[in-house]
Symmetry: none
DNA sequence: ACTTCCGGGACTACCCGTTAAT
DNA sequence: ATTAACGGGTAGTCCCGGAAGT
């Protein structure tokens, strides 16, 4: 019964990651104990530790994953699809709560901060591309520096996500209008 | 050292609050120990606990204070002054890092969440008023529902604040342009 | 307002002692905090400490007082009166609970133990005298060593007191019969 | 050190209980710190807490154990054996000091009080049976309600135990004579 | 002169991330 | 892979001294 397959290991790892994500979203990184996570996985302490040798590793992995989700969401060329994905994200309260934890941790951990910054840079570039396409579709003249717009859009999305995280509902129409106004702006 | 004037008590309280704010901004709520804070105040454990009976009280007080600062910043009728204050806030990295902690804590503590939501509502109203004035100054037709715009502006500011918190500098011109675009939109 | 009278001081002292007695009986010596006692007196910390310079002093004073009450109860020559007093004591649950604390503390504090032992010796002698009188009244031949009987009577009373302290009611008739049997024994 | 046999766990538990018993008898429940107990066990804090999740649990377990010892001692039908056991108990000063703590704690903790009362009831019944046998052996007419006698005997034993706890030696002969007088009375 | 009550700081019970023996 | 054990660290309490007021 030795030598489990690589797929099995990957699946295990993913199971743990999902459990940790849920617990972290629910309690916050610091308030969640490793015991909480272990219980959520249904595995044993040792098993979890063999995949993630410390709580910090778990935090980083979950955080990376969460930020990565965003990146994936933005990785589409089709503008309509982009909006749809953003809307979906903007309605996922669990993700929003997790991201709130990630930002707070990043504000305090240079290592995580660097990762988030890197992801943000990529996101900005992607979004800037989207904006270019969007404007051309809409017949609006190209913007000289769409990166600035993209950053603002990203900032607004982040802000709305935080609102969602604390249970303050956001108006879908406001969100869309605002995005539109920003992307088509001067 | 008995029978102390009310001013003295208020000053003490403020001293503790400032020290706690600094420590919390630096390490985050959870990672900051009460010992850290006590040492930062220069007082004794007992003294601190006589002003704030638990760490949670300290957290709430600091959080309230931080959110209140924002509210104060927006409490001006003059649009130019408002922009100036926003810019100042947007450059205060310590405040940004503290706010990141506050959001994360609020995502996990219903009590704090309620307070932040309440403050947000006030901010939105205030900002909506500012936007009205701004548009009238700029000769732009009044917007039917400036609250939606205000929420987006607030969201964008929040997002930029988080960026600042993780050490990703923000372009002042981008920020201003974006604010302008949003407030004058549709 | 200087120089309060000696009576005033004595009254104060007694007030504090009564308050402390009540709190100690209710919570036990260790679980009762000085704050509890101070609040029960209605005075300030400093005032209490000026009469009893430490919690230990309070404990000793209260314990002494409680043991003294017993000694007083036995300090009558009249046998009927003695029985009446014993019965009264045996019904005072608060006193019983306090005595339970005193015994436990004495079991651990040599100082208090010595005091209790001394009081016990006096009690035994007194009781032995009572027994002598009782037997002569009852026309029973004098006992060669009534001290042994007295010690047993005392032990039984102590035991019944503990029962009372933990809320196990005691049968008055049993108690009296037993006392009678013991004092008139062989 | 995983996967340990049940015997091992039981032995561990007993080790901790013995250590706690010794410390509690020596210092009293309140004055004994968890650190004291942990050190006495030679184990780590965590290990002790995994067997007894709080100090209160430790107190209750030790108290139960101590009261149980008494019950065991009385659980013999042979009168001579009973007297021998009582005498042995009456000479165990450590047990006496522990019992003093138990009574005091029971006077303050309804939970423990209930347990002690229950044990007392059993003891009384057992003793009443013993008394019946004793009287029949001695050719004394049966007593109509030996429970009352049993309660008094128990009370006297308790009282003597307290004396022992505070270091006041008791006279073996007095004890035996008294027991005899009581059991053969009225 | 006498009370008040702020402040000190050692100490306590307990939790938690992690290791290593089985 | 499992889990007992580890042990440092945490929030918070408690007793009391002594300076400030009346």
């Amino acid at each position: 019964m030795p030598k489990v397959s690589q797929e099995h290991r990957d699946a295990r790892r993913r199971t743990i990651l999902e459990a940790a994500r849920a617990v972290f979203a629910d309690k916050g990184f610091a308030q969640a104990s490793t015991t909480d996570i272990v219980q959520a996985t249904g595995l044993s302490t040792g098993a979890v530790y063999s995949y993630f040798p410390s709580k910090q590793d778990l935090v980083l992995a979950v955080a990376d994953d969460a930020v990565g989700t965003l990146a994936d969401a933005f990785g589409v060329s089709d503008v309509a699809a982009l909006l749809a994905r953003i809307r979906a994200l903007a309605a996922d309260r669990d993700h929003a709560r997790l991201m709130a934890q990630v930002w707070a941790e990043a504000a305090v951990s240079p290592e995580l901060a660097a990762r988030v910054r890197a992801r943000n840079a990529v996101l900005t570039t992607t979004l800037a591309g989207g904006i270019r396409a969007f404007r051309s579709d809409a017949g609006v003249p190209a913007h000289p520096a769409p990166e600035g717009l993209a950053e603002t859009v990203l900032a607004a999305l982040t802000g709305f996500s935080l609102r969602l995280a604390i249970g303050q509902d956001i108006d879908d129409r406001s969100l869309e209008q605002a995005l539109r106004a920003l992307t088509l702006a001067g």
